[in-house]
């Protein structure tokens, strides 16, 4: 199941674990990333809380946690090479895997059609 947030994150949900990243639209808006900071594995986050930070040449931006849950894995590859987020934001440029406190919460997120309408 693929879901989106209005804050430009995508979630690929498999069982009770969501793989989370930023959308192609967000990556284009941010421009070339030069730094990514990811959360600690084992840390717990609430929906809407800061989970990661991305920085372009010009500015820093927060990546929010899309749902309540615990970080079970992070993608070290984007820390080593932040340009991966620009080249493949919805694939190899994923950020972290989140074990959802309540997977039913995901139902309320946007589907792909609704997200596409949002970003025009």
């Amino acid at each position: 199941m693929l879901k989106f947030t209005a804050e430009h994150e995508w979630l690929k949900i498999d069982g009770d674990v969501a793989t989370v990243g930023i959308t192609t639209h967000a990556a284009e808006q941010l421009g070339d990333l030069v730094f990514v900071e990811l959360p600690e594995v084992g840390s717990t986050h609430s929906k809407g809380g800061d989970a990661a930070t991305v920085e372009s040449v010009k500015a820093a931006s927060d990546v929010y946690c899309p749902l309540d849950g615990e970080i079970v894995e992070v993608n070290q590859a984007i820390v080593d090479d932040p340009s991966l987020v620009n080249s493949d934001p919805q694939g190899a440029g994923w950020f972290f895997k989140l074990k959802l406190n309540n997977k039913a919460d995901a139902e309320a997120l946007l589907d792909e059609a609704a997200y596409k309408e949002l970003v025009g």
Binding site: F35, E55, K58, A59, A60
Partner: protein
């Protein structure tokens, strides 16, 4: 309310939009922050070939002595800047600072001697205040004209000379900080060999109605790429150049800002025309005895950019705050984060270890000599 409609547009607005620029509000103007290539590629292209910048938002002012004697205009300007203007030869340009009575900086600017007048370029955000300042203090002796019908572009980078020479053969005769009148495709231009990137290059004032045509000719050259304000900022940061409003403002003096090089001996204590500018008492005393704090370069260990107004500490626990960052980001040419900030002089020596607070962490930084990237001016 449509905020965008309140913003002014430069004569190159349509060209910028047609090139795919992302436009943002800056100093009351709609300006291109980046083009489709993106900040990183634009920055590297400028260092490798040539970048074209629209800087038409900046203020262009003509200062002409009412007496008809340009030396009177030079003396009038010297009453507002701690800089040798009287000794600035015809056809030459120099960096200057408008100082305040307490020694703070009202703006930084370029002053060019055009023979029968001075051509002055000031920052966009300050231009109205600067013009009022000029009117108030030297309006009696000088006729002041803000050129609102001209664009200003910069062509910067190692290929800038070759590219511009295809439009104007005489360009090779110019050296760093020369100013000349020239005719580019029937456009009556003022060219200076200067810029804000640390690279060799030119700034060109063009009549507004000819600006797009001249730019299209330049952009036709395979070495030239349009560059936005994003890369302009990362280029000037690597070059160790101050951004007014960040690194210098009314709360910083020229000595604190490490701009002693801009104040020639003739205006300093013991010089033939010592003092006689606003804030002279404070600034001359600091030139002799030093200031308590100083602008320095900062190399950041690790990969996280350190941005203003990050606080600087002497220790890794954040106990002793010693200053703050005024500019900072990622330096694409040195492939590392860099910053500038103010620290006490005792901590201003290159190599001094400090710590910058970023998102609650204290990241190690080291005071570094400026510029970060060696300049390549054709002196």
């Amino acid at each position: 309310m449509d905020v965008v409609s309140d913003l002014k547009r430069t004569p190159l607005h349509d060209l910028n939009v047609s090139l795919g620029a992302r436009m943002v509000p800056f100093a009351g103007y709609e300006m291109p922050v980046q083009f489709p290539a993106g900040v990183l590629k634009e920055h590297l292209h400028t260092r490798a070939a040539a970048g074209l910048f629209d800087v038409s938002h900046m203020g262009q002012v003509i200062v002409r002595a009412r007496s008809g004697d340009n030396a009177d205009a030079a003396r009038a300007l010297e009453s507002l800047v701690p800089v040798d203007v009287v000794g600035l030869g015809e056809g030459r340009q120099r960096y200057a600072l408008f100082t305040a009575g307490d020694g703070g900086i009202l703006d930084d600017l370029m002053i060019a001697n055009r023979g029968d007048h001075f051509f002055v370029v000031v920052n966009a955000a300050c231009k109205d205040a600067d013009f009022a300042h000029l009117e108030k203090h030297i309006g009696d002796s000088c006729e002041l004209t803000m050129l609102t019908d001209r664009a200003l572009i910069a062509l910067q980078g190692p290929r800038a000379e070759t590219v511009l020479a295809e439009l104007w053969a005489d360009i090779a005769g110019m050296r760093f900080m020369d100013v000349r009148a020239c005719d580019l495709h029937d456009a009556d231009c003022i060219v200076t060999r200067s810029g804000y990137t640390g690279e060799d290059g030119f700034e060109i004032s063009i009549p507004a109605d000819r600006a797009e045509r001249v730019c299209r000719h330049l952009l036709d050259h395979p070495d030239v790429m349009p560059i936005g304000l994003g890369a302009r900022d990362s280029l000037r940061l690597e070059a160790g150049l101050c951004l007014y409003g960040n690194d210098i403002d009314t709360t910083t003096t020229p000595v604190e800002a490490a701009l002693e090089w801009a104040m020639q001996k003739v205006r300093r204590t013991g010089g033939d025309r010592a003092g006689g500018f606003p804030g002279a008492e404070t600034i001359l005393a600091q030139l002799t005895s030093g200031a308590a704090r100083r602008r320095v370069g900062l190399k950041v260990e690790g990969k996280a950019p350190v941005r203003p107004p990050a606080k600087l500490y002497a220790d890794a626990e954040g106990k002793t705050e010693v200053g703050h960052v005024t500019s900072g980001g990622f330096g694409p040419s040195i492939e590392a984060p860099i910053a500038m900030g103010y620290v006490p002089v005792a901590l201003a020596a290159p190599g001094t270890p400090l710590f910058a607070e970023v998102r609650g962490k204290y990241l190690p930084v080291t005071v570094a000599a400026l510029p970060f990237v060696a300049n390549s001016f054709k002196r």
